[in-house]
Subunit: 139 residues, 3 copies
């Protein structure tokens, strides 16, 4: 049994999704671990992790459409708006999605389904550098 | 310390919840591990995992009622509808719930609360076979 | 490699958030593990875990405002109301947030971002004692 931990930065172009599946797999490769789990953690409260369809990009467009309708930027009920109308909505969107995901590792590969990809979902409208920590546990 | 990994298929009758607590416990039993964690992962983007009340089935009826109201099948704002009105809504519902859960293992048993059960939540209206991977880590 | 498991109770004052970051760190300290992961699990279906901003308390006020608007107490569509108008809404709110989170451990410390805190989100209106199990895995 062994543990391997590494971090990387995802540069986001503003609100939207960035595929980090290959970055996570790269850490798994470096670990030399073949059976176990790979946990991904994002150190932010206004960007989150997302496992969703990787084939048709319209899925991620529609996720954004749904989320923008459910959590309004600049909602007048929000008190916290120091950084603008996308500040508090970004925190709500993060809470509704994931700060951490744990993916099984099988034969050294992330055991994702055929149509699953791992994404950073940037909820702020401006570009950011987002720090992720990947921990691999297994043998 | 040891790791044990196994997969199983949950047959769903269409939209609704299927209790898989016993299936997950079975993998934990086979692992021989008594203290650690049991992580469950579903390899799909239109069905998800759910930990919720296992006593009154009305809870799961009401969860479905809430979700159906919050995420509309056939929402005209959705672009992705290749597989019908429940296609894109299933992806949104999956994102709002869980693709992966990690449950503590204590004395060889899933340390769930008295009223907690582990369910697959099928979000498509037709029956499916859903693949789950369980990884147990501990000693 | 080692595993360490411990539980604690969070006393909640009714609906709202309780910071448990120090309680979780205390279990990590006791484990003697410096590199790995720390998984937190709450054994309830009407209170959940939340990782969000720890600086401006208005963020958690606004999260509550959003959630109260999205999931109505006493929604007449709900069937399950044995314990009052906050009963079923508490189950929905739990499903939309987290029952389990996995946080990386680095140099013996929870590798949270600068602005991240770990909270119990009590969804019932009356005070409760909530049981949490922390499992630390690593070396």
């Amino acid at each position: 049994m062994a543990v391997h931990q590494s971090s990387f930065v995802a540069k986001t172009p503003g609100r939207g999704t960035t595929n980090v599946t290959a970055d996570v797999q790269r850490v798994a490769d470096a670990s030399g671990i073949t059976t176990g789990v790979c946990t991904v953690f994002i150190q932010h409260t206004s960007a989150s992790l997302l496992i969703t369809e990787n084939a048709d990009p319209d899925v991620r467009v529609d996720l954004e459409t749904w989320m923008s309708g459910a959590v309004r930027d600049g909602d007048p009920k929000f008190v916290h708006d120091a950084e603008g109308p996308d500040d508090m909505s970004a925190h709500v969107r993060t809470v509704l999605t994931d700060t951490t995901v744990t993916i099984p590792l099988r034969d050294g590969k992330l055991a994702l389904g055929t149509w699953q990809g791992v994404y950073v979902w940037e909820h702020r409208t401006s570009p950011h550098e987002r720090k992720l920590i990947v921990t691999v546990l297994g043998e």
